[in-house]
């Protein structure tokens, strides 16, 4: 393999490296709530995409390092979070509400009106 190819592959691998953010997911009658830990990701570095039925969460950690910082010890080595979820059809991806606070992303994905549970009344007769 030529050096060129090698370096392209290396950069690609570095581009691809990301950490899975830890998430909580729960559902109630009106929709799904998803919380994702994205420490160090400011609002402008967060990207949320819905493509078809796939929801993609991507965020880059904003380095807040002073000049001349030399790493001594690092548990967070990949400054990038990425995770995708498959949505189901009854969820309304047009009305997702997103909020990022203190490194926690909260997504509220409502169910489409017609998919909300309703009581079917039984006619006596």
């Amino acid at each position: 393999m030529s050096d060129d190819k090698q370096s392209i592959q290396n950069t690609r691998e570095q581009d691809m490296r990301s950490t899975l953010p830890r998430c909580d997911v729960f559902e109630d009658e009106s929709g799904i709530t998803l919380l994702a830990d994205l420490p160090g990701v400011p609002r402008e570095n967060l990207e949320l995409k819905v493509e078809g039925d796939t929801l993609l969460i991507e965020g880059t950690v904003q380095p807040q390092t002073p000049d001349g910082l030399e790493a001594v010890y690092a548990e967070v080595r990949v400054p990038r979070f990425r995770r995708s979820f498959t949505l189901s059809r009854e969820l309304d991806s047009q009305r997702i509400d997103a909020n990022l606070k203190d490194g926690v992303l909260t997504l509220r994905i409502p169910k489409a009106e017609h998919a909300q549970p309703r009581r079917i009344s039984v006619q006596a007769g």
Binding site: R17, L20, R22, C23, D24, V25, F26, E27, D28, E29, L35, D37, L38, P39, G40, V41, P42, Q62, Q64, T65, P66, D67, G68, L69, E70, A71, V72, Y73, A74, E75, V76, V78, R83, S84, K101, D102, G103, V104, T106
Partner: protein, 150 residues
């Protein structure tokens, strides 16, 4: 703290990648001494430490905290960061179904031993975007000085 073996977030290849990275973490740094206070990967909060000629910087990745709820102490060269993170998942409720519970909750505490040349009187801590930054100044005597040659 290990993630559930039943979850395959990111698909099979993502999982292989994660395994490779974990193996790297375990064996990749073959033989290098690790801190006696280091913890298993995935512990909350993760900690990075860096230094500049004038300070030691400690970053604790602790999202979803109230800045006033952190307890940061510096005692005999050991910096301790503790706090408690509440759960965001509503308590047991018939109408709520929980699918994933990966975010750590409850009390946590991490300790970092600092180099000898720090000045315990000059410590600053701030919390931004879920990262607690503690900056500890180093003594002037420890800073590099230029010695002029006569």
């Amino acid at each position: 703290m290990y993630e559930s073996m039943l979850n395959f977030p990111g698909g099979l290849f993502g999982e292989f990648d994660r395994l490779r990275r974990e193996l790297d973490d375990v064996f990749g740094v073959s033989g290098l001494p690790s801190s006696i206070r280091s913890v298993a990967p995935g512990a909350v909060p993760a900690i990075n430490v860096g230094r500049t000629p004038t300070s030691v910087e400690v970053y604790a990745f602790a999202p979803g905290m109230d800045a006033s709820k952190f307890e940061v102490t510096l005692d005999r060269g050991v910096l301790r960061i503790s706090g408690e993170r509440p759960s965001a998942i509503p308590a047991q409720d018939d109408k709520v179904q929980v699918y994933s519970r990966e975010r750590g909750t409850g009390a946590f505490m991490r300790a970092v031993s600092l180099p000898d040349d720090i000045d315990p009187a000059q410590v600053r801590a701030s919390y931004r975007d879920g990262v607690l930054m503690v900056s500890i100044a180093r003594r002037e005597s420890a800073q590099p000085t230029r010695i002029s040659v006569q």
